[in-house]
């Protein structure tokens, strides 16, 4: 049986583009034919569910019943890849919950492949969050994501300070999400379709749409750059080979 994969996408504050990154992950797995399910913890609203309604469920990760819904079905369910979009500001509490239910131990022992995409904000508080998150990352793959989609400038960070935080996590990998043309982003929001469908000029029910060729081109170009980052970190290997945690088993 394939080893289950859990990817948590989180951020310490809202508006850094966490759900956008989750959406690009879902599109990436879809394009690579990796069956995926997603949990949107922005209960009750669910931004992620708006774009990927067929594979996303809205949950409240603070409730036991919803925790059971996610984690009790890991071994038995297909698809084997689970993406969890954690509500802004709740990354560390979510990881603490995972520790308390033994999930992190399972990841450490190699029963589950576990990865965290930590979407960084420009303030120094993000760096503190890295230090806090580091405590949970043994046996997990940790990706630090600088998201420029909102035209964020990370100027507040002194490079030496950043490096000192960055190097606290063993095997932490940095990713960059480039900026997307604002109007293109806005049009995708209005269309309420995944990025991939927008590029393909399709509507919510796969019907032919009439999106601007220019905006579709910008999204296509941007998505290709984002996916090349995912290729660089060998994301498909991560979800396919289950190399993480082998250290623990051996």
């Amino acid at each position: 049986m394939t080893k289950p994969v859990v990817i948590v996408v989180g951020a310490d504050k809202g508006g850094v583009g966490k759900t956008t990154v989750s959406r690009t992950l879902l599109d990436y797995f879809s394009a690579n034919n990796v069956p995926t399910r997603a949990f949107d913890t922005e209960s009750p609203r669910g931004t992620l569910k708006r774009f990927h309604p067929d594979i996303t469920e809205i949950v409240d990760m603070t409730t036991t019943s919803d925790q059971m819904k996610i984690f009790d079905t890991l071994n038995s369910s297909s698809p084997s890849v689970t993406v969890i979009d954690v509500r802004a500001g709740l990354l560390s509490p979510a990881l603490a919950s995972l520790r308390d239910i033994g999930f992190l131990d399972a990841a450490k022992s190699g029963q589950i492949t576990f990865a965290v995409f930590h979407i960084l904000g420009p303030s120094i508080a993000s760096l503190d969050e890295i230090a806090e998150t580091a405590n949970f990352m043994q046996g997990a793959k940790y990706f630090l994501v600088k998201n420029f989609i909102n035209n964020t400038s990370f100027f507040e960070w002194d490079q030496a300070t950043y490096n000192s935080y960055f190097h606290r996590i063993k095997d932490a990998t940095e990713l960059t999400i480039p900026k997307l043309n604002e109007m293109a982003y806005e049009q995708v929001e209005v269309a309420s379709v995944p990025f991939l469908k927008f590029v393909a000029n399709k509507g919510v029910r796969d019907e032919a749409a009439n999106y601007s060729f220019v905006l579709r081109g910008y999204v296509r170009h941007w998505l290709a750059n984002v996916w090349s980052e995912f290729d660089r970190i060998k994301l498909t290997d991560l979800v396919g080979s289950g190399k993480l945690g082998d250290r623990g088993e051996k």
Binding site: N181, E182, M183, A184, S212, F213, V214, L215, R216, G217, Y218, R220, H221
Partner: protein, 222 residues
């Protein structure tokens, strides 16, 4: 359905004859096909809009709205030939955008045939601009325009290897004559009784070159 041509007259340099070239091409297409849509992307130079107001609209590539308004028109295979007079200030931005959004690929998919009419010059900006085009655009879609009034000599070697369109130099007094806003190349051909005049022959030569260019593009596609 036959392809819709889009002629992009361009150069990263000012005052090399882009607008004159765009006028010639627009009037030729209007004569031959009865319809043409011309776009003027010029900020600081003599403008196509002033010469051919009935068939020309202004366009810009400074912001996303402008790009959408222009490119979403160009990508339509409606059978109406398009001519763009691309001002030197917009050269880099236009082709950067075109590359990013995959214009050439999408055009091919939709039966639109972009042709870059690059008006050559000997300076470094032109060499750099041409090299950039060669990286982005298939060689079959690039035509180097040798405007003899500007070049006055041989084409730079880097530009001499592919398709070339030569525009002969006119004497200065004729150049001034054709630069009047009310002057029309086609009207001149129709009304000038003496077909042996230098200007008459110059216009006919250019129209013949355009016809040959069209034919070669058609043969290349089939």
């Amino acid at each position: 359905m036959p392809h819709t041509p889009v002629y992009i007259v361009c150069s990263p340099r000012p005052l090399v004859g882009k607008t004159m070239m765009a006028r010639l091409m627009s009037e030729f297409l209007l004569l031959k096909q009865g319809a043409v849509a011309a776009f003027d992307i010029n900020l600081k130079e003599p403008s196509l809009l002033e010469y051919l107001p009935a068939i020309t609209e202004t366009a810009e590539v400074d912001d996303t709205f402008g790009k959408m308004a222009l490119m979403d028109r160009l990508i339509v295979n409606d059978g109406i030939a398009k001519v763009i007079d691309l001002g030197f200030h917009a050269f880099d931005e236009f082709f950067k955008m075109s590359d990013e959004i995959g214009f050439m690929k999408e055009a091919a998919r939709r039966g639109v045939a972009p042709v870059i009419l690059f008006v050559a010059d000997t300076d470094r900006a032109s060499a750099r601009g041409f090299a950039m085009l060669q990286q982005q655009i298939p060689a079959t879609a690039i035509v180097v325009v040798d405007n003899e009034f500007v070049l006055r000599g041989e084409l730079p070697p880097a530009m001499a290897g592919g398709r070339i369109l030569r525009i002969g130099a006119l004497p200065v007094f004729l150049k001034t004559y054709i630069s009047r806003l009310k002057f029309s190349f086609t009207d001149y051909l129709r009304h000038e009784k003496d077909s042996s005049t230098e200007l008459h022959q110059w216009i006919r030569r250019n129209y013949t070159s355009f016809r040959e260019l069209e034919l070669s593009l058609l043969l290349q596609r089939s």
